[in-house]
């Protein structure tokens, strides 16, 4: 089972950086520069509001909003991470 998981994951990664990646790159053309913001924004939304395959509203939102404010004020990555963790942990501690 673990061999299948490892082989499957590696195969998907290899496809992405070889043939499939090249095809997607050619099809999208200059739009490829918008692919990162698309994928990573979706990732933020899912990491914030999804839990075990369902939508969920919990303390993560507080941290992400705090982190977003810090990032918007051009704080460094380290600060953004610490602010987000502190806000979420603090919210959990007081609720």
């Amino acid at each position: 089972m673990l061999a299948a998981l490892a082989a499957g994951s590696y195969g998907i990664r290899v496809l992405g950086v070889t043939t499939l990646g090249r095809i997607v790159e050619q099809r999208l053309g200059p739009l490829v520069s918008l692919l990162p913001v698309t994928l990573f924004s979706a990732l933020v939304a899912l990491m914030t509001w999804e839990r075990a395959g369902e939508l969920a509203l919990d303390a993560r939102v507080v941290g992400v909003v705090a982190g977003a404010l810090a990032a918007w004020r051009r704080a460094s990555m380290v600060v953004v991470i610490l602010v987000a963790m502190a806000a979420t942990a603090g919210f959990r501690a007081f609720t």
Partner: protein, 239 residues
């Protein structure tokens, strides 16, 4: 590229440490579910698929079949194929080089690569983030099997908010243009809208449809499609 201190070292290291702690929770979780050290190391080092590893352990622990465990995990991993087009330009052009680089395509490494202002730093950020994250994830997983419940729940410390916050920091610079904002908002809405309707892993794949409205916005702004392969015009606009 290693001759002077690079700004991406600090960012890459910070996110790797946060991910390493989540690796510890994975080790604790897998250990409690009856997985042995070898299995945990194989999962973290060879597969290295983060959240999908929790899915594998969760499915097996709740009595699911191995096929169901691997199937649902690989669906979550499918997004890694879409990171290919994002990072291809930073990778070695030789096939062996790409085959090595493929293992380090993790959510954070493509994101860090595109966040750099030039191609050489992009490649450096990809490798540094990918390898550091990989090592921290493995080390965290191993530590988790030994630590057991000692460190308590990582959620108490807010580590589950660290992951999305990392990507918030990486997305913000892309929001300087109208097409970047449209792509971000539509992608997030599509992904969340798809959560109740599809299996985990599918929503992020569907979010790619956000490229269509973003393309319209961009076409209205710069009526010269096909030009300007210039990597990240939106960064310049936002900083």
């Amino acid at each position: 590229m290693w001759t002077r201190i690079q700004p991406y070292w600090r960012d890459g290291l910070a996110m790797s440490l946060a991910v390493g702690v989540i690796g510890v929770t994975f080790g604790v979780f897998a250990d409690a579910a009856g997985f042995d050290l070898i299995q945990i190391v194989v999962m973290s080092a060879l597969a290295c698929v983060g959240a999908a590893q929790f899915v594998v352990v969760g499915v097996i622990d709740s009595g699911g079949t191995e096929a169901a465990a691997v199937g649902s995990a690989l669906l979550l991993v499918a997004r890694y194929a879409l990171y290919g087009p994002v990072v291809r330009r930073f990778l070695p052009s030789s096939l062996p080089g790409r085959l090595v680089a493929a293992q380090f395509v993790i959510d954070q490494s493509p994101a860090m690569a595109v966040a750099q202002t030039n191609g050489r730093d992009g490649a450096g950020a990809f490798w540094f983030t990918g390898v550091t994250l990989w090592l921290c994830w493995i080390a965290g997983s191993v530590a988790g099997t030994a630590l057991g419940g000692v460190m308590g729940n990582a959620e108490t410390w807010g580590f589950d908010a660290a992951l999305p916050a990392i990507f918030v920091a990486l997305v913000v610079p892309h929001l300087g243009t109208p097409e970047g904002r449209v792509a971000a908002v539509v992608a997030a809405a599509v992904a969340l809208g798809a959560v109740p309707l599809t299996a985990p892993g599918v929503p992020i794949l569907l979010s790619v449809v956000a490229l269509a409205p973003a393309a319209l916005v961009r076409a209205r702004r710069q009526p010269r499609p096909g030009e300007g392969e210039d990597s990240e015009p939106e960064r310049g606009a936002s900083r």
